[in-house]
Amino acid sequence: MPCTTSANGGWLRSDLRFAPADRSGLAAPAVARFLLQRVALGALVIVFASALTFFFVNLAPGGPASIMRFDVSPEQREALIRLMGLDRPVPQRYMEWLAGALHGDLGTSLLTNEPVTGRIADRLPNTLTLAGSALLISIVLGIPIGVVQAVRRGKPIDHLLSLVSAIGLSVPVFWLGIVLILVFAVSLHVLPSAGVTSVSSDTFGDRLAHLVLPAIALATTILPTVARFTRSSMIEVLHEDYVRTATSKGLRPRTVMMRHALRNALIPVVSAIGALVPRLIGGTVVTEAVFGWPGMGRLALEAAQGRDYPLVTGLTVVVAAIAVVATLLVDLAYTRIDPRLRLA
């Protein structure tokens, strides 16, 4: 049963393609159960992330408890401790924090005294725009690149694209960002180097122009892997009997490729993309720093530099939730692509 694979065990799911015929008995309820199981697992992952972060922050030396050592009068210290609730045991505080979090209250930022939820909500759309665009670029470019490589396997174009992929995997995102700024903003003056919009003109075109370089930089964190996965999956599928059958019964090569080969080859690729989402979101920290993009990644950086514990905890949980939801969406796409999961 595919349902037993792990929350992000996408890689393992490539064996689905060769699954025995007994799965033909899968009915619509199986899909519902598959998705339900995914939702439950996802919720567990979010709770896990929050617990790990909360307990680490509160138990490690140097955490909020270190204000005990601040150079303040005993009365002030006492007041601070009570204000932050540090006089109560950590598990109890975690349960309270979790109860608050379920109601959208992630505590108060130490740096600005604003609610953490509000500070994150301000930045959320920018990060989603950036990460979403990068994901789109990776899919729209990565899959065709992989297909071209598989079809032209061993030819110069395959080697060239493999080399480009390998370089893409090895270039530090932030350095690529700097180089992109150097080339497109400094030398060619065609694209802006930082921010979300220009001060003078806040139009859609202007926003799009600001998005191009950061999205490209961020996309390189996963695009080469998407291409590699598509290539190897496609090569495997092209060896299958049904592809040979389709070719030998006289179908146009294009039809064989698109309808017979690619469709099956995409199944493991989709789960690979799901597994890459956390990496993509992690990449926003560096990308946003390079391009002065006011998103959650930069907020996390500010929180880390300013030792803003509630903010950094809230951010980690929200980011984990985003990764989980994105993976769920991939699972949903999965049931669409793999007819064995959809039809009885």
Partner: protein, 267 residues
Amino acid sequence: MNRLGFAALIVLATVAAFAVAGPVLWTIPPEATDAIHGLAGPSSVHPLGTDELGRDMLSRLLHGSRVTLLVGLAAMLAAIVIGVLVGAVAGFKGGWIDGALMRFTDAMLAVPAFFFILVVITVLGTGVGTLILVIGALSWMPVARVVYGETLRWKTAEFVVAAESLGVAGPRLLLRHILPQAIPSLIVSATLGVAFAILTESALSYLGLGVQPPLPSWGNMLQRAQLYVFTAPALAIYPGLAITIVVLAFNFLGDGLRDALDPRRRR
């Protein structure tokens, strides 16, 4: 091993030689400032020019290579230790221990590790030791998966069952008979792990959360370089190229080793 793998090995050997011998032969200290000659271009005294404080770029690159390579290797070792422990115990013990450990691994993979790294640094502060542990603690999951798979695969192999029936049991069975089978896969994981660790170290150092100045690392050299990218782009080019070349070499070496060590992959 394929030609790319060999080329990568030669590149890495050269870089290692530079890291070991470079700072000995090129005696300008990386911290020595020469404010009058700040942001200077290449000259006979400073073959790669100087940075904004007039520090010699060649010396900083050479000293930085030591820091970057050491942090990369140490973080990889930490990841291997944790990954082998988790993967081997889960695969060998089975049952609920297997379930708990591997679900833990999955959960760690499902959340963006970079944000966890920021959490840890927020609490523990910056430092080379922290950096190594943090990168190791958040990149062991692929290793655990690989070792887990190998352990499951070999646990039921005939020679292991034979050893077991001769009375070999417990840790000895795992260490002497099962884990050695995982070494080829581990070597590949380790090689690719160094590449990942170097990329993470450089990103954190670039953000000011990794190796702290005045100690140079390739990552923190880029931190200030971005400020001067308009006037002195060379400052940003050298360290970035160095990181890319070394990471690329580790990736090619890993791929080459995988092809050489795992016949199933050869297609």
